[in-house]
Symmetry: C2
């Protein structure tokens, strides 16, 4: 991956307690930065900015280093690591948050190592928009900035969120978040509204139904890959964002074409994430695995053995 | 359309009372045969087998004749026309049946006009599977048979439904019906199970998220077309089936390739249906309208202005 540009990822590192249809899993290492970092590292060198508590296992950081992920921006603070607990419905789509403990995340004040300040690709993982802006300020002229957000910030921090949206290239949200942010139910109208708020592009994730990219060229639909074994959807959205930025970091330029290819690579990357609990699969994923699945995804659009 | 083969459609003709987010509509002419006939007639000559009561307006039959739909198989019985009432949620996806009155449909005993008996393309619209089999028996060696069904028959008539499935080429159902029929939640596994029950292909409709075709070539995903104005989803599934068979009737052969193209034409046809209440839009649709929308749908899969 020597030809790929580095990617800076800011987000959470966490312990997750998961109630899955297949059983309960406690103390699963997760968090938006963790999933996105493993996903992006399939393609490019990754730099992570996050905070963990003194209970976070050093072995996980070692695993990340082994995947060409620079964790010098991961601060170890006194106290407990961020913790999330959730229960998934049998459909593995709907989930209920049972508990959220910010812990060391509550007082996190990210300070970028000097070596991180000129990173060209930036992923502002789901977080307080003030924190996202703070990190953005510390990077010198990033070439491409992608951000995620969630219902909590959309309703609680609308003005800071609005400032953040004016500073990014691409917003990645799910359909419910797009509706909440725009106040518009229809997805196409919601996307158009969001584009007026700043980002040049918006990507709307729709879980198993794939994702839609809205940009100056129009709309691109990445199909969901119909998996036979979905085990744990936690981190799928973060893996999508990581895979998207990872693929783009291997390209000369971000263009309508490279973004569309990135959509398929992001879909492929996320499809592996959900096949195992936590980061088990995403942390061992290879570029060849992803390339193979992109080929499978493309057959979903092809017109039979003799393609058009 | 002189080069297209004729299509025989059996299904319901009905009055629908619709509670839509935009308001209530009473006595809307609907029914699976009505929607599917208008959709198929965009492509090919259509023959309808159905029953209406003495309250059904002759003007509607005149409109259908004007669209090259042969209604000599529409029996006018003493009594009231089949009636359905339903309420749609604001998402225009979920709906609740408020009332169903079979009326003249309860004693319907379809008898095909002799001129209908050698129709090559056959659409067995959602109906009692015994009725579907009865019609199938009356057609001489149809070249291609598509059937639809619903939860009511899946739970209530499993054995007759099983006999029907062994006699058809393609089953068209939505995802919930596929899950109920197979007893399997995962869509890919559900499709494989259904294919073991008889049909050579199964098409799983997913509303705004498009449709999946499972056949001997693999899986093909037709994307949902992101509409800005969805008014009334009633009849979308029937229009999909009508558009599918209509397009196939214009082709020399049913192949993996022509089926994939038919999936896009079916999606396009159904996308017009939902833009107006009842059959208002589908009954005036032209082949040019559909061709134009198929082009728009294909751009959803294309890699920017310079396509790959």
């Amino acid at each position: 991956m020597t030809s790929a540009s580095p990617i800076l990822i800011i987000g959470s590192m966490a312990f997750d307690d998961l109630e899955l249809p297949t059983g309960s899993e406690r103390d699963v290492i997760g968090g938006s930065a963790t999933y996105a970092a493993f996903a992006a590292a399939v393609f490019a060198p990754v730099r992570v900015v996050a905070v963990v508590g003194d209970d976070f296992p050093e072995t996980m950081l070692t695993t990340m280093r082994g995947r060409d992920i620079d964790v010098t921006g991961v601060e170890r603070a006194a106290g407990k690591t961020f913790r999330w607990a959730g229960r998934y419905d049998t459909d593995l789509i709907h989930r209920t948050t049972l508990d959220t403990q910010l812990n060391v995340f509550a007082s996190f004040n990210p300070k970028l190592p000097d070596s991180f300040r000129s990173t060209p690709f930036l992923l502002l993982g789901n977080n307080h928009p003030a924190l996202q802006l703070d990190v953005l300020e510390q990077v010198n002229n990033p070439a491409f900035v992608v951000a995620d957000t969630m219902n909590f910030w959309i309703s609680g921090e609308p003005q800071t969120l609005a400032s953040m949206l004016r500073r990014i290239d691409t917003l990645v949200v799910n359909d419910e978040e797009a509706r909440q942010l725009s106040g518009i139910y229809n997805i196409r109208r919601a996307a158009r509204d969001i584009l007026k708020r700043g980002p040049k592009r918006v990507i709307i994730k729709r879980g198993e139904h794939g994702a839609l990219l809205f940009d100056e060229e129009g709309i691109f639909a990445a199909p969901g890959f119909p998996l036979e074994d979905v085990v744990d959807p936690t981190g799928a959205g973060d893996s999508f964002a990581g895979g998207l930025l990872g693929y783009l970091a291997t390209q000369q330029q971000v263009t309508a074409l490279s973004l569309r290819r990135a959509m398929l690579h992001a879909t492929a990357t996320a499809s592996f994430c959900v096949e195992a609990v936590g980061t088990r699969r995403i942390s061992t994923l290879t570029r060849e695995d992803v390339t193979h699945r992109v080929t499978e995804i493309r057959t979903l659009y092809e017109f039979g053995a003799s393609t058009m």
